[in-house]
Amino acid sequence: MANHADLADRIAWGRARAATVMALVFVAAQIGSFPDDFPLNRPQTLHLAAWIVWAAALLFFLAAGGGLLRGPRMRALLNDETTIDHRRRAMALGFWGAIGTAALVYGLSFYEPISAREGARLIITFGIALALLRFGTLERKALKHA
């Protein structure tokens, strides 16, 4: 029985670290690609599709929480009350992050022409990244002394 708990702890640690790393890589990749933008006169289907798929995958990771292939008992351990609470708090911060970024984009648009596509990319990127960072932090903190 302790093996179950040990395995759940190990997976939860991995998930917490992965959430933090994925958030940082996601933001870094978007910042790195921003000067390129997605000009309307140039087909960027692949680039756009990759970004959308990446964002959707991160959202799925945040919402589903992992352990999908490990059976109902392990899945329940990996998504118990504290994890659900951490996920809820992380998503709330992600929401506020998205709203804050939207306000910044709105302000920025008075000084710098910014396309709807760029704006949406910024809002989604920071919303998801903040939620993932918060989830990773909360989980790591809870796991530290367990």
């Binding site: 759940a8 329940a76 351990l77 609470d85 989980e139």
Partner: protein
């Protein structure tokens, strides 16, 4: 000011010589949840509080109390 929830989970658990992992297994949660409840970081749901009390053989009121009580 929000009331703080106190608990005697650790005392009750150690009285029964249970580890966090063993108690977690009895109630079907992770060790992380037991740890955060013991440290007062996480306030459990009514369902979990009832499960914890049942696993430790005591009442919920014996396990949890409000600071002002």
């Amino acid at each position: 000011m929000p009331e703080r929830l106190l608990n005697s989970l650790k005392e009750e658990r150690t009285r029964l010589e249970l580890t966090q992992a063993e108690l977690a297994d009895r109630v079907g949660v992770s060790r992380k949840t037991i740890n955060t409840v013991e440290n007062g970081v996480f306030v459990p749901s009514t369902t979990l509080a009832l499960k914890l009390a049942r696993a430790l053989g005591c009442s919920v009121e014996a396990l949890f109390s409000l600071e002002q009580d």
